[in-house]
């Protein structure tokens, strides 16, 4: 176990008070070796805490933090450890901030690989400095440029080596990303098998101690019936209709006669209709009265969510049921709505707090849906925040038709939080694997490229800088594998000296050699790729830094 003690809990700092009245905040400057030395020591500290969690034999880290439940967190998740660290030295802290940003980006993009990214960053920086110090004649700018060039080649190579994820491998990827929890791996894989590869899986906290999954095939709206009088299945308190027309509008229906045109054919042909629109109380009562006394088959729900999200969700619903979306925002007039503007669903199940639409092809157009899904994937790729990404994924899921939710439970808040992080990571990693494919895990893919692949030897180094860049990358790419073995207390030479093939490697869990992919020791390509690209980006930034400006401050013990 590794303990991080935050000394700044006992200290407080202030900007030097003498300067307070000057009207500007004074700065401390640091240059050259001093600056870089501090940056490096910051990264080393962060990395030391984070890298001990890497691999199947990774250690647990205890974090004291007021941001977490009960003031502490137990985790094996690199992101959580990294996020919890702030250092007291302003320059060291700057370095930590930069690395954290990169790690965060990796986690947001690929769902995993934070730790790998940090290990790579540290190694790239240390090796880079070694080369620069040992050989002062090297042109730093040229070296950094070469570093980026060569790393692009490595990324290319990784992409070529990626293998498609089979159903059988799904469980392995999920298990590994959940820090080798077989049970979780099984649950995640099960959900993905049910919702299909384009389906979406989200993670939520369970109300019970158990961890379980639920899947919905169809479109789910987080809104229930507007009146309990719509219930027609008393046993389940649900309103269930098959072969239903769907009205989609976001303007309030204030008078039932606005719907006359739409309701006429419904009533005369004894059809069923789901209204997704805000209704005023009187309209709801009238509808309910018609259901009760007049035997009409109507159910009404509110539109989901609020604001811009509502608009987007309603458009999705309209597209997937093939309805015309009547919106206030586009100046539509609800009294013009007629029967041909309705969409169609094979079945609707409306309960008190949610509605599930099972889609039919009667009115919707698969091509429009596909186009919309493609657009959403594009926005997903561009979205920067995790919340935005998740929202887009939910929308894609509701359009493509499969949504799975994993409810994470735990005996204590602490256990639940730790498990939630792991499950969230694992789900994201499986998604990455489905997107781009997989590589042999345990850091082996990068290790193989660095040590045995012909890629590096095929590069003709035109300059001393390029040669140095190749050396730096060769050494750094081995770092993740080395770290995983170090965490398990095994030396690289004892297990990797005789191994030459790309897929072959040492399985830490079983303690045997073999085909890593077959044994299920795999990493999503996207995770490895993002980790490397982000690590290079940070390393280049730090290596090219020569002057650092920080706020001048003094630390005093708390009175």
């Amino acid at each position: 176990m590794l303990h991080i003690r935050c000394e700044d809990v006992y200290l407080w700092y202030q900007i030097k008070s003498n300067y307070m009245n000057l009207g500007y905040s004074p700065k401390d400057l640091a240059f050259d070796e001093e600056a870089q030395g501090k940056l490096v020591s910051g990264i080393k500290k962060l990395s030391k805490a984070v890298k001990s969690t890497l691999g199947p034999s990774g250690n647990t880290v205890l974090i004291e933090s007021p941001n977490h439940t009960h003031g502490l967190t137990v985790t094996k998740d690199g992101v959580t450890v990294a996020k919890s660290i702030d250092l007291i030295d302003p320059i060291e802290n700057l370095a930590v901030k930069i690395v954290k940003q990169a790690a965060d980006r990796t986690a947001t993009e690929a769902g995993d690989g934070t730790t790998t990214s940090i290990v790579l960053t540290e190694s790239l920086i240390l090796n880079g400095l070694d080369h620069l110090n040992a050989n002062p004649s090297l042109n730093r700018t040229e070296l950094l440029r070469s570093l980026v060039e060569v790393s692009d080649l490595v990324v290319e190579k990784l992409k070529q080596s990626g293998k498609k994820l089979t159903n059988a491998m799904l469980t392995d990827v999920a298990t590994i990303s959940a820090n080798n929890d077989k049970n979780i791996g099984g649950i995640i894989a099960g959900v993905y098998k049910e919702v299909g590869k384009s389906g979406i899986v989200t993670v939520e906290r369970s109300q019970s101690t158990e961890t379980y999954a639920e899947t919905t095939l169809g479109l789910k709206i987080d809104r229930g019936y507007l009146s309990p009088l719509f219930i027609n299945d008393q046993k389940k308190d649900e309103c269930v209709y098959e072969d239903v027309m769907v009205l989609v509008a976001d303007m309030e229906i204030s008078n039932i006669l606005q719907l006359e045109l739409v309701l006429k054919p419904i009533i005369q042909e004894n059809k069923k209709i789901l209204l997704i629109a805000p209704c005023n109380v009187n309209v709801v009562n009238t509808l309910a009265a018609n259901v009760m006394k007049n035997n009409l088959k109507i159910v009404a729900i509110q539109p989901p969510s609020f604001g811009y999200k509502q608009h987007e969700l309603m458009q999705d619903i309209a597209v997937s049921v093939g309805a015309t979306y009547y919106s206030e925002k586009t100046g539509d007039d609800l009294s013009l709505i007629n029967y041909s503007d309705l969409g169609h669903a094979a079945k609707v199940i409306v309960s008190s707090d949610k509605t599930i639409l099972i889609k039919s092809t009667a009115r919707s157009n698969q091509q429009t849906i596909d186009e919309r899904v493609a657009q959403l994937w594009q926005s997903h790729a561009q979205a920067a925040k995790k919340a935005d990404k998740d929202f887009l994924l939910e929308r894609i899921a509701s359009l493509t038709g499969g949504i799975g939710v994993i409810y994470v439970g735990g005996n204590t808040d602490l256990e639940q939080k730790e498990l939630y992080d792991r499950v969230d990571d694992a789900v994201c990693a499986v998604r990455s694997a489905l997107e781009e494919g997989i590589l042999p895990g345990s850091g082996r893919a990068l290790h193989h490229i660095a040590t045995q692949d012909t890629m590096f030897s095929s590069i003709v180094p035109h300059s001393a800088e390029k040669l140095a860049a190749i050396h730096i990358l060769k050494q750094s790419l081995q770092a993740p594998l080395n770290q995983i073995l170090t965490n398990a207390g095994i030396s690289v030479h004892s297990v990797y000296d005789d191994v030459t093939e790309f897929n072959m490697g040492y399985n830490l869990k079983t303690g045997s050699h073999g085909d890593l992919i077959k044994m299920g020791v795999v990493d999503p390509l996207k995770v490895t790729r993002c980790a490397l690209q982000n690590a290079i980006s940070v390393a280049v930034t730090i290596l090219s830094t020569n002057a650092i400006v920080t706020m001048a401050r003094v630390y005093e013990p708390q009175p």
Partner: protein, 85 residues
């Protein structure tokens, strides 16, 4: 009881309102219509076209109610009647 001049005494007909399409309207929906249905109880001395027992539609905005020996009646003038059925 004999109303004087153009006054007419009527009594409202309360019934479930259904539209032509078969949609049942609640009392509140029905209330939103300006004209209501009623039966004429007695018509004034100067009223020519409306006689006792006629079913009419009248402008409810210009109507007043009164109670005579326990019965609720509505009082309107002849010009408030729009349709005699």
């Amino acid at each position: 009881m004999k109303p004087i001049g153009k006054y007419i005494v009527i009594s409202n007909i309360e019934e479930e309102v259904k539209t032509d399409t078969g949609l049942l309207l609640s009392a509140r929906d029905a209330d939103e219509f300006r004209y209501k249905k009623a039966k004429v109880v007695a018509s004034g001395t100067d009223v020519t076209h409306i006689k006792e027992g006629d079913v009419i539609h009248y402008d409810k905005g210009h109507s007043f109610t009164m109670v005579i020996s326990g019965h609720h009646y509505t009082i309107i003038q002849e010009r408030d009647v729009v349709i005699v059925l």
